[in-house]
């Protein structure tokens, strides 16, 4: 019934006439989409344009060159930045996957004293994000002697309330009979979680992984504060410091090449897994 009416609805929509108002709206939105894209197009253009044309925005007929990228590659330890960022993202994801699975399971399946209180306490992390607590957290990291370490940059993110709630929602949709059957077969909790739940939670890990990875990849203020050693810097911090050095000379092709280096991995992933990304981000936040 619903399927049929949905189909009729679609047909009716197709039969709608293109009114002048609608035409204007479409025209406006297409223009807007193109406007939104211009900064990216320009970024890529300037990263690959021969340096002498960097300010000639409308120049045509040039051959793309890697010379900007090779030039800036030798100006800062980008390789280090990449490795540090990758280690940071991997470290945060690895620990979050463990902590959110355990906590998510507890909230979804167990009935225990203090559940509601703990649940509210977990919510605080979403309300008052780590971004706001940079000063007290910096003091903690200093007291732990973790300044200038990637561990220090990662640690405030080892637990994730958002991930916990995402896990909890998903685990709740998994039939409890599966767990009971495993228990009857003599599985302990560890085996139940790793062998029954883990495979079913893979989409959830991907969704949370994409959100957490892009957050960590893009995080700036916190790693800027914690890490001072140039060799330990992350991509965003390296980019900011590089851009500030070249800003005065208005070296657009340098800045653009560096910016592209920083954003390319996430954007390329996004172009390939567009749907996955958008779906995952639609789950971000507690819904």
């Amino acid at each position: 019934m619903t399927a049929i009416s949905a189909k009729q609805h679609r047909e009716k929509k197709a039969a709608w006439k293109m009114t002048p108002g609608k035409f204007l709206l479409y025209f406006f939105m297409y223009t807007f989409a193109i406007l939104c894209l211009i900064p990216l197009v320009w970024l890529v253009r300037t990263a690959f344009v021969p340096k002498e044309l960097e300010l000639k925005m409308l120049a045509v007929g040039w051959v793309p060159t890697f010379s900007n990228i090779t030039r800036i590659w030798s100006m800062a330890p980008w390789g280090n930045y990449y490795i540090n960022t990758l280690i940071l993202v991997a470290g945060v994801l690895a620990s979050q996957f463990v902590t959110i699975t355990m906590a998510g399971y507890a909230f979804a399946r167990l009935n225990f004293y203090g559940k509601n209180t703990l649940f509210i306490l977990f919510l605080t992390q979403i309300m008052i994000a780590a971004d706001v607590l940079i000063l007290p957290n910096y003091m903690t990291i200093t007291r732990l002697g973790l300044n200038d370490t990637l561990l220090g940059a990662m640690m405030p993110f080892f637990a994730s309330a958002m991930g916990t709630f995402l896990m909890r929602q998903t685990i709740k949709t998994i039939p409890y009979e599966l767990e009971e059957a495993a228990k009857i077969d003599g599985c302990n909790l560890f085996r139940t979680i790793t062998q029954i739940y883990l495979p079913l939670l893979v989409p959830c890990y991907i969704a949370h992984g994409l959100i957490a990875a892009s957050y960590q990849w893009n995080n700036f203020l916190w790693p800027l504060i914690v890490i001072n050693k140039p060799a330990k810097r992350l991509l965003t911090v390296g980019l900011a410091i590089f851009a500030q050095a070249s800003e005065i000379g208005a070296l657009w092709s340098d800045t653009c090449a560096a910016t592209l280096l920083t954003v390319a991995p996430l954007l390329i992933l996004f172009f390939f897994f567009q749907k996955r990304f958008i779906e995952s981000f639609a789950h971000s936040g507690i819904k």
Binding site: S5, A6, M29, A33, C36, L37, P39, L40, W42, L55, M57, T99, A103, Y105, A106, F107, N111, F112, Y113, K115, F122, T124, M127, I128, A129, A130, V132, L133, I134, L135, N137, M139, T140, M155, P156, F158, A159, A161, T164, S214, F220, L221, L224, I225, T236, L239, A243, T255, C256, T259, T262, V263, L267, Q274, F277, I278, F281, A282, G285, I286
Partner: protein, 307 residues
């Protein structure tokens, strides 16, 4: 009689023992998360409140922090012009970016849902700013706003626009950038909100001869209300959290015309080493965020939390 009571109390005791066993297990499972939350969310909130009552800056390095009660707050709210400016700026940013982002996002979502030609590209062009770090966004927009040879100056052949150094223009220039950055993120919540609206509603409306405007205001908008409330809070809290771009673009200037509370915390703590004041500002931000979340909690259907 006594036997039954004994039976019942025995059953109760058994039940309680079982509950405690589950509780122990649950707490063990929650412990790793709890430790990190305690260290980096609960403790720092408490520490900020405590530290905000102390004079803790360069002058007190030798003596250690000196207790001064609410003096930091009094200074902030009565004397500190930069705090006032940053506070007002934050309010302006929230009040302006939130409705515009939401309005744009609804249009983008409807368009991205309906459009036939170039659907993928439309979604990409709306959403990709979400995935860029604020620092990269700042670099890109620095170019757009640079006088003379920046994109706007170049296209309109105008050397006199100084978007980032004019105190009257700078905040608005940053607001445009923030809207561009976050509208696509808001859009995806609306896209999933639109997909949850029963198509039969639209069908019935068209049969009754409703036009596009009526359909939007009578069906789409009210049905999207829960989404709107939800994204309103996200965008409002974002208005307090997004400050990375200031580091590149303006450093809060010119003359604090674009400063924001969180960036002011950064400046107070790490440029001026005035931890007591920085803590007080942190507490102000925490309180503001708590108020926003409480508003959300009481306006939103609780099932979205506890479902």
């Amino acid at each position: 009689m006594t036997a039954i009571v004994n039976d019942r109390s025995a059953a109760l005791a058994r039940e309680r023992r079982r509950m405690w066993r589950t509780t122990r297990l649950a707490w063990m499972l929650l412990l790793p998360s709890f430790i990190f939350l305690a260290m980096f969310t609960f403790y720092p909130i408490g520490y900020s409140i405590w530290n905000s009552l102390y004079k803790d800056n360069n002058a007190t390095i030798r003596t250690g922090p000196v207790y001064i009660g609410l003096k930091n707050y009094i200074t902030l709210f009565t004397k500190d012009q930069i705090f006032k400016q940053a506070f007002i700026n934050n309010v302006i940013v929230a009040v302006v970016t939130v409705p515009i982002s939401l309005g744009l996002a609804i249009m983008m979502a409807i368009f991205a849902n309906k459009v036939k030609i170039g659907k993928g590209l439309v979604r990409v062009s709306f959403f990709y700013p979400t995935l860029l770090p604020m620092v990269a966004v700042a670099n890109i927009w620095l170019f757009i706003y640079t006088p003379g040879y920046g994109m706007l100056g170049y296209i309109f052949n105008n050397n006199t626009w100084h978007f980032l150094t004019d105190p009257d223009a700078v905040l608005w220039a940053l607001i445009v950038m923030m809207i561009w950055k976050q509208a696509g993120y808001v859009m995806i919540f609306y896209i999933s909100g639109l997909q949850n609206i029963n198509p039969e509603l639209y069908e019935a409306a068209t049969i009754d001869g409703a036009n596009g405007t009526q359909i939007f205001w009578r069906i789409t908008w009210p049905m999207l209300m829960p989404t709107t409330l939800y994204v309103m809070i996200i965008t409002m809290t974002n208005a307090f959290k997004l400050v990375d771009h200031l580091y590149i673009l303006t450093k809060g200037g010119p003359g604090n015309a674009s400063n924001m509370l969180l960036f002011y915390v950064y400046q107070k703590a790490f440029d001026q080493t005035n931890y007591g004041m920085a803590s007080a500002i942190t507490v102000v931000v925490i309180v503001l965020l708590l108020i926003l979340t409480c508003v959300q909690f009481f306006t939103q259907d609780k099932r979205t939390f506890y479902a």
